[in-house]
């Protein structure tokens, strides 16, 4: 009974446009009242949901992304990639995917990735004659790789919400899926560029140009080496690595590239704080609703329905539910509320926690570029000056490629478990 009220109430509130953070809180408030739970648990759960050291990497990753986008790091990453693939047909979109992947090794957010590369890549592709719709689709689709290649905000949120899985292990597990999706996107860029006869750069890169280019982009390319190497090598916790990357990005952009002005800093600090707060408060209010979910034993009840489906039936259902959710809704509430319900059932069916966690996260990350509510679409569309309809049509093959990759990742645990095994996260 209360379960039905909670579910219907939450969906109704979200549909009529209550901000998601408050929709979660109001639903939890109503349900807890009906259950007769003392109301002081509400601020208590709100507080304890946000009181968590690993979550601190969210503001740091956002901050680092802000600095790198303004400070000229993303331009240099793109130039770096162009040194290697610039003379192929479709070299520019391919380079933009590569740059997105490298940027993904610094940032944990798809939106940060797409906006940083979009600001540089879209005008460049437009100038080279690729057409702005294609440019926006490439940058948007490649943005999804950002949170899959570690570090990753959704992975941190997942590990916090579900528990019993190491953040480092999930990060390691994201490496191969990120490379897989990135490579498939590059192949798609190449095929589309050939078929549509997009221009090709005529002159080759001279060895001198190559060396100068490497020298100019070296410090930028080092950033993911520090962040990723630091986390996967066990030197930093993800939070510390994120803080180090903020300081590193600042030092490089301010002292070496001279493209960051101190006068821009206050606005960046405010944007960082408010953007993270919007995510953090959702985590807090989800934590209140989590109490209702736990009291009502939703996982057990749902398990009765889902467990008889078996391993493959279950995971297919999960894929479909999370893909649809990703099309319609922000990913954080899904990770915070749905994942803790589904994860225990998955464990019973024999999924490895790292494998299942990454399936859920990647599923929702693909939702970042699916219309009608892909957050990345709302960022790259206006950047290229095109409508959501045009962009949705152009990005469709990219979505299909990512869904194909998602299925590979789902049905072959190799992709998510090989590197964690190598690094000793799984014995």
């Amino acid at each position: 009974m209360i379960m039905t009220i909670t579910v219907v109430g939450l969906l109704t509130l979200m549909a009529i446009g209550v901000p998601i953070a408050w929709a979660l809180g109001i639903t939890a408030f109503g349900s807890l009242m009906l259950m007769g739970v003392p109301l002081h648990t509400i601020p208590q759960k709100l507080f304890s949901g946000m009181d968590c050291f690993p979550l601190m990497c969210i503001p740091f990753f956002i901050f680092a992304g802000e600095i790198m986008a303004v400070g000229g790091l993303s331009t240099r990453l793109l130039n770096f990639a162009l040194l290697f693939v610039g003379s192929f047909r479709g070299g520019l979109p391919i380079a933009s995917v590569i740059a997105s992947m490298i940027f993904g090794g610094i940032t944990g957010s798809g939106i940060a990735d797409a906006s940083a590369l979009g600001a540089v890549g879209i005008p460049m592709m437009k100038k080279a004659g690729y057409g702005q719709t294609f440019a926006a689709a490439v940058v948007g689709a490649a943005g999804c790789v950002g949170p899959i290649i570690p570090p990753s905000i959704p992975v941190v949120v997942y590990a916090m919400a579900v528990g019993g899985v190491s953040i480092g292990g999930m990060f390691a597990g994201g490496v191969l899926p990120g490379i897989l999706i990135g490579s498939l996107l590059m192949i798609l860029c190449y095929v589309l560029s050939r078929r549509r006869n997009y221009p090709k750069r005529e002159q080759r890169i001279s060895p001198r140009e190559f060396l100068v280019g490497i020298k100019d982009s070296f410090l930028a390319v080092m950033t993911p080496v520090i962040v990723l190497g630091g986390i996967l090598g066990g030197i930093f916790t993800p939070t510390e690595a994120a803080a180090v990357s903020v300081v590193y990005a600042f030092v490089v952009c301010y002292f070496v590239y001279h493209e960051l002005k101190l006068s821009e800093l206050p606005a960046m600090l405010l944007r960082t704080g408010v953007t993270s707060a919007v995510v953090m408060i959702i985590i807090g209010t989800s934590n209140i609703l989590g109490l209702v979910v736990a009291f009502e034993q939703m996982s057990v009840k749902l398990g009765v329905i889902l467990k008889p489906m078996g391993y493959y039936g279950f995971i297919m259902t999960v894929n479909v539910i999370f893909l649809i959710w990703g099309c319609l809704m922000d990913m954080n509430p899904a990770i915070l509320i749905l994942a803790p319900i589904f994860a225990p059932i998955a464990m019973l069916l024999g999924f490895h926690p790292i494998h299942f966690g990454l399936i859920v996260c990647i599923n929702l990350i693909v939702g970042l570029i699916t219309p009608p509510l892909g957050e990345i679409l709302f960022i790259v569309g206006p950047m290229a000056g095109i409508s959501l309809e045009e962009l949705s049509k152009e990005i469709l093959p990219f979505i299909l490629v990512e869904i194909f990759a998602l299925l590979l990742i789902t049905y072959f645990p190799f992709f998510t478990l090989y590197i964690p095994q190598l690094l000793g996260y799984i014995r």
């Binding site: 509130l13 979200m14 549909a15 009529i16 446009g17 209550v18 901000p19 998601i20 953070a21 408050w22 929709a23 809180g25 109001i26 408030f29 109301l39 002081h40 509400i42 601020p43 208590q44 709100l46 507080f47 946000m50 009181d51 968590c52 050291f53 979550l55 601190m56 503001p59 740091f60 901050f63 930093f236 939070t239 510390e240 803080a243 180090v244 903020v246 300081v247 206050p266 600090l269 405010l270 960082t272 704080g273 408010v274 993270s276 707060a277 919007v278 953090m280 408060i281 959702i282 807090g284 319609l328 809704m329 922000d330 009608p372 509510l373």
Partner: protein
């Protein structure tokens, strides 16, 4: 009310900026202390966590005033005129009810934490917990301001002719 809200939101803004900067420096210093001086601060993690709670609470309030919270606008943006106004008011009232619980119960909770000292810093936990009631008091104020603006625009003669969209 608008004047008070202008002052408090500017205060939020400054506090958020300072706290984000502080949090970054504290955690970075922690890494340096551990690897270079081999003497980590015991208090860095705690300070960082409580700064994060303050940033999140104040940022959430700031985002209420400037309409920066994530919501699903799929259906609600199709609503027009009086329906949009009415739905908007109901939403605001619900937000106020929830915020009031967080404010009142949160205040009660933080006052009870006065004797409770934090693990590393030995400071009353009150100073961490009070972020919640403080910010929800602001959220109530900001939501009331939105309601007042909504009513004012609904009352204006232009929208009565149905030419303007709702709030």
């Amino acid at each position: 009310m608008q004047k008070i809200n202008d002052v408090t939101s500017r205060l939020c803004k400054v506090l958020i900026m300072v706290m984000v900067l502080l949090m970054t420096l504290v955690i970075f210093a922690q890494v340096i202390m551990r690897y270079v001086f081999l003497a980590p601060f015991a208090w860095a993690e705690e300070v960082g966590r409580y700064l994060l709670i303050w940033i999140s609470s104040l940022g959430a309030a700031y985002a209420v005033r400037y309409g920066m919270h994530i919501s699903v606008i799929f259906i609600s943006q199709k609503l027009k005129g009086y329906t949009a106004f009415a739905v908007g008011m109901v939403i605001h009232l619900m937000v106020i009810a929830f915020s009031f619980v967080c404010f009142a119960e949160g205040l009660h909770l933080s006052l009870r934490q006065w004797d409770q000292l934090s693990a590393a810093l030995r400071v009353p936990m009150f100073f961490a917990y009070v972020a919640v009631p403080f910010s929800f008091a602001l959220i109530i104020m900001y939501t009331l301001e939105h309601m007042a603006k909504g009513v004012a625009s609904q009352m204006s003669p232009k929208s009565r002719l149905g030419k303007e969209d709702g709030p």
